[in-house]
Each structure stands twice: as C-alpha cells, then as structure tokens.
C-alpha cells in the first residue's frame, strides 16, 4: 500500500548547501504528509479515540465535583477544559519516532538511515512534523470542534494567551519528538523495546499533566518535576490557555520551554552519535 509514495526523496546534487538541505527536509515533511493520508480509517477512528478519552475523564471529574466546588483552584468547567484541551493538543504533538526507529532496527534497515546524506534526527523529526501538520487538519481541529460542541468548554483566556498557547504547543511537539528520538536510540541495543515504549507512554501521560494537573501532585513530586521537561509538554501550554499563567509568566514559561526543546534535541543527537558508533544490524 502506497509503496510509490514511500519512495525516498532524491539525493541533493552538488554539495549540501543550506537551500538544498532545506529542500531535503521539506521533502521528508511532504512524504510524511502523503504517507499519513494513506491511512484512511485511522483518522475517522482517531477522533473517536480522543472523544472516548475525554469522556472517561469527564465522568470521573463530574463525580468528583459533586462534592466540592473547587479543587486546587480549578472549578469543574476549568478542569474539564484542562482535560479536553490537553487531549486536543496531544493529537497534534504526538508522534511515534521511537517506534519507527525500533521497527527500522528490527527489520535491519537502520543502515539505510545512516547512508542518507542528512542528519538522522532531523529526518525523523521533519517527517513527524509532516504528520503532525496533517493531523492538525484531519484530527486536531475536528476533535476540538466536536468536543466543544458536546462539553461545556471555556474559550482561551485572551488573544495574547491564545497566541502564547499556540507557540507553546508548537514547542511541545519538539520536546516530545526529542524525547521519543532519545527513547528510539535505545532500540538499537535492545531486542524488544515494547515494554520501554509503554513505560514512556504512561510516564508522559502522567508527568506531562495530561491526566491530572501537576498542582494536584504532592509537594515533593512538584518540586522534582520542575526540573524535568515533562510538564512543558501539556501542563504549561494548557495553563497559558486557561489564563492561569499571565504576562511575564507566559514569557518565562515559553523561555524554559525553548530551553527544553534544544536540550532534548541535543541529548537525542548525542545519544544517536554514541549509539550509532556501535550499531549492530540484525539479519539481512
């Protein structure tokens, strides 16, 4: 299915000028985009999946708020919006670079990545970005519309907050991509990283604040999490959306987020160099 669309972009001719490099990455984004189109049902069902997630937490929180009006500064409508917006943006920033690398390793095709005249991490991230742009149109927006129609959600706290939120979500993508790439590099050494992938999945769900706001965590956890990139994936963007971060607070949050984008990508690059030095290619 779609074999012709999977064809790799042509090698850049005549040196690796910046324009050429850009064209190559643009091509990877396009390939990611077209590939994703080929999965028909996934987008119809993806919307349903996200709807189910939000519904589950809607009912749980509804049961909880029957007894109290406000918990940790969140009223029910705010918390519901927190949950819904969290899942909506997840449909954008989500990617499975780690899984893709694991599959390449299992099929013994990793060497193919190494001989391509591009930075491996950038190639994976660019392709994932292509997919994300696609999901934005076919998954994120429809999901947002449906959720907003069914559940009583709040609008963004203001134009400035909304702009900050969008920028923040864009950076979330790169933090997640960076983390996934790091996890993917472990695939090179392990025969089966399914367990590891699942552990990462649940770790991100919990510590990004997707399931429950970070401020609900015990004090010790909150302090520890402040030194980690996870809450900048979901908690921080949604706080900006809700207006729980304002003015300088937004700027500061975005700054730290930017730091984590570069930190995670740099870590991924370092891990890749380290791992690819001792690549063992399984089978033929």
């Amino acid at each position: 299915m779609g074999a012709s669309e999977l064809a790799l972009p042509a090698r850049p001719r005549g040196g690796a000028s910046l324009a050429n490099q850009a064209r190559v990455y643009a091509e990877f984004i396009r390939v990611g985009f077209v590939n994703t189109l080929a999965y028909r049902l996934r987008y119809y069902t993806g919307i349903v999946t996200y709807f189910i997630y939000v519904s589950i937490y809607y009912f749980i929180w509804k049961a909880i708020y029957e007894h109290s009006a406000k918990i940790e500064g969140f009223d029910f409508k705010q918390l519901l919006t927190y949950v819904a917006v969290g899942w909506i943006i997840r449909s954008f920033y989500y990617n499975n670079i780690d899984q893709q690398i694991a599959i390449q390793v299992m099929e013994g095709k990793l060497a193919m990545d190494l001989i391509k005249p591009v930075n491996t991490q950038f190639m994976y991230v660019a392709q994932a970005l292509g997919e994300s742009v696609f999901r934005l149109a076919l998954l994120t927006l429809p999901t947002a519309v449906i959720l907003a129609l069914v559940f009583p959600l709040r609008l963004p706290a203001g134009a400035l907050n909304f702009a900050g939120f969008m920028l923040s979500v864009f950076m979330s993508f790169f933090i997640v991509a960076g983390i996934n790439f790091c996890v993917g590099t472990f695939a090179i050494r392990l025969k089966s990283i399914l367990g590891l992938l699942r552990a990462k999945y649940f770790l991100l769900e919990l510590f990004s604040g997707l399931l429950i706001p970070i401020s609900f965590f015990p004090e010790v956890f909150q302090k520890a999490l402040a030194f980690m990139p996870f809450q900048y994936i979901s908690y921080v963007p949604v706080l900006i959306y809700l207006g729980k971060l304002q003015g300088l607070g937004i700027v500061k949050a975005l700054g730290i987020q930017l730091f984590w984008v570069f930190a995670m990508l740099a870590l991924g690059d370092a891990l890749w160099r380290w791992s690819s030095r001792r690549i063992t290619i399984q089978g033929g």
Partner: protein, 263 residues
Amino acid sequence: MKRHLRLFVLYFAQYAKVRLAYKADFIIAFFSSMAATVLGFGFVLVLFTKIPKLQDWSFYEILFLYGFSLIPLGFFNVVSWNLYEFGDLYIIEGRFDRILLRPVDTLFQVLFEKFRLESLQEVATGIAVVTISARKLNISWHAADYLWFVVMVASGALIYLAVFLILTAVSFWFEDRVGIVPPVFNMLTFGRYPLTIYNVFIQFMLSWIIPFGFASFYPTTHFLGRENFTIYFHLVPVVAATFAMLAVVVWNRGVANYSSTGS
C-alpha cells in the same frame, strides 16, 4: 482437544525458549512493562490525595477494581499480540495463506503463534493490588469466592478476547491498517472505574455492546459486597460464552471472505 492442548504447550514452549534466549532483554521488557502498569495507577494515587471518595467508592475499593481489571487483561494480552498486527502481517503481507495451508484451526494458529510473555506482569501486579486492597478493606474470602474469582478472571479474559477477535476479523473485509481496534482498546479504561459514574448510555454500551463492564466492574461488585449487582455478577459467564460464540462465527465468516477475495 487433546491434540490442540499438546500443540498449545509446544507453541508456548517454543516461543518461551526464543524469548528467554535473550535473558537480559526479557528482564528489561518485563520490568519496564511492569513500570508502565504501575504508572497507570498514578492518576488514581494522585487523585485520592485530594479527594476522600469517588462517589461512594473508597480509595482501596477503586484500587481493588483497577487491580482486578488487570488480571483477565493480562492473560488476554499474552495472546493478543498477533491480533494487533493481524491486518498488517497476516492480511496485507499475506501470512494468512500459510495459516490456511496447515491442517489445524486458523484461529488456534493465529492466537498461539506468538506470545507476549511480559504481559504476565499485569496478572502479577493485578493480584498484588487486589490482595493488598482486600486486606485493607477487611474482605473475608470463603472457599466459594476463590472459585468465583477464577471463573470471573477466565470469563473476563474470554470477553476481552471475543471483543477484539470480532474487531480483528474486520481486517478480512477492510485492508486499512489501523481500524477500529485502538478506540475500543482505549475503552478498556472505562472498566477501571465504577460503572455507576457514567451516564445511562455508556453504562448500557459497556454492558451489552462492548461488555467490558462484565469483565471488571460486575465481577468486583460481588467481592466488595455490593449486593445490588448480584444478577449481573451471575450473568458474567453467560455473557462471556455468548460473545465467544459470536466471535467464532464472525471469524469464520471472515476466513470465508478472505478465501473469496484473497486480499
């Protein structure tokens, strides 16, 4: 039947041998999946630092329910591996031809060609959580309860298997790689919380359409002494058997369709 049992043991032993050949790797896989399962409790743990009860369910009652739901799920997950990859590997890549060329039932071959051994950690975690919760709740177990427990776990696993078999069989008609399995898979999460927190529509769906309620919630009500669900509790094995039969019918129709279209 005896022959199939023998074959099952052989298949399982073969696969276990392969996995255990890389011991370190298997241990990492086992413990990282266990970490994933434990992290899954994170939401409930954090939540109950802020609230005393979810409806009239205490912390340990919720833990009991969550823990119980993992046990049949773990058993199901051991054999479910091939189901997730079925459309890709068996239909699109054509491995199903090989299945058809062998003198053993197709379903048997597909389920037992590969095992996800590390999923047994879910069973272990589930039993540990149920045991701890039961102790904290001072539940007294009679001999019959142990028997019921086994019946409930078996029925639960059968319900999961039946539901996902039906969904997998859809690949026989539609070749799209990612179908309706993921959304339904996510509905498993519904079963970790009391059915009573949902609205009537979802309660109905989780009971009679995608009967995950019969795999986790209704069984636990009995052990937690919630008498108003006794009828549902006794229905659990019946629902499991019904859905299992339905699944076999759908599967066989799918095989027939494959043979006429040869996707």
